[in-house]
Symmetry: C2
């Protein structure tokens, strides 16, 4: 159940070249918390200073601008979200052959959901950027999407060869999987009321398995 947190990768990143003081760490933590709570624009640098228990000048010691501060938070997310979401993940989970579709779906999803849970704040910050900054959104996507399509694609092809999965184009398969995951994450991030996480998770796996099971309804309708 121990999941890597983006925070940890951040620490790791820094300790190689530079050191980070406790106050600077407090500033990063406060920024992350506040950006996730109120959004970037609604968070002032004096808010951050107050929450971190430092003077406002200290906020500007390491990071020249407020935007740079956000970038510092986002950097490890975009840098490590790729290995976590695709590569690293593939090493552990994608190499092996899956006996059943259910096994595949369960492996993938318990993993991804746990990761998301451990990094809700970071995801919220990255979603805010992606929502209104077109350039950055495309940049982030261009980092993540191709690798993911490739990695997952190979497993899907394997499952296709074993006739364990529906014979749809890979991008469409990924899309419906991601939609379900995305819908689940949205409820998680927004803390929608009446959400019983355990029950949902089990259901999510059932639904996705069902989507992917080969069957009679598999021809894609419409013109």
């Amino acid at each position: 159940m121990e999941r890597p947190r983006i925070r940890d990768y951040f620490q790791q990143d820094l300790s190689q070249n530079e050191t980070i003081t406790p106050k600077q760490r407090a500033i990063l933590q406060a920024s992350l918390d506040l950006f996730a709570e109120k959004g970037f624009d609604q968070t002032s640098t004096s808010d951050i200073a107050q929450r971190a228990g430092v003077a406002e000048g200290t906020v500007y010691r390491r990071y020249k601008t407020k935007a740079a501060l956000r970038d510092a938070i986002l950097a490890p997310i975009t840098a490590h979200i790729v290995p976590i979401l695709a590569s690293d993940f593939s090493e552990d989970k994608l190499r092996q052959r899956y006996p059943s579709l259910q096994a595949f779906v369960t492996a993938i999803f318990t993993d991804r959901v746990a990761f998301a849970k451990a990094n809700v704040k970071e995801l919220k910050v990255i979603f805010e950027v992606a929502a209104f900054d077109t350039e950055r959104r495309e940049q982030i996507l261009s980092q993540i999407a191709p690798k993911m399509v490739k990695q997952m694609g190979s497993v899907i092809n394997q499952l296709k060869a074993d006739h364990l999965i529906v014979d749809w184009p890979n991008d469409l398969i990924l899309q419906s999987l991601l939609s379900q995951l995305f819908g689940y994450l949205a409820r998680l991030i927004l803390e929608l009321p009446g959400t019983e996480i355990e029950r949902e998770q089990a259901y999510l796996i059932t639904v996705m398995t069902k989507i992917l099971t080969p069957g009679e309804h598999d021809q894609i309708t419409g013109q």
Copy 2:
């Protein structure tokens, strides 16, 4: 293919009590456009004035604050999104019995997707508010969710009685449907690259039909 637009309901709302001048209309339109493009905080009132072709003072004539301006845009959305998303919709589409699951899904989704397409800007503004304003999010949800659950629930029950749909709790059924819709809308709103709308829509219906078709995989797994 003619879909009601939130804009129209807005106009309708106003013309009952007060009149709205062309300049005030231009201000509302400019606000909506800019809020959707850049986000609320990144839009200044002088931006709005410029886009609308009026003086900045004019912006403040009817709406005392910038927030009130956003509220004025949001009001008809939250007020009419309920009838459109649930009631009105139920009159037209939910009353009739559906011969097949596919017919049901197609009816529902072509409808909802067309509506969303016609109101992308409004949805974007409402999502921004919902993302960081907890109170408003809950308020909006409390308006929409129960009615939707009730309306859709009756149709789902009908389909259940005819054994046309999987025997899951209604809230879980709605959830997976909404996840797929939500995932689709996200791609639509964010204009993700490589999105072929027609193909996606057909696929969406196929996936949702598959989810809802009764079958062997229907017991919900997990502890």
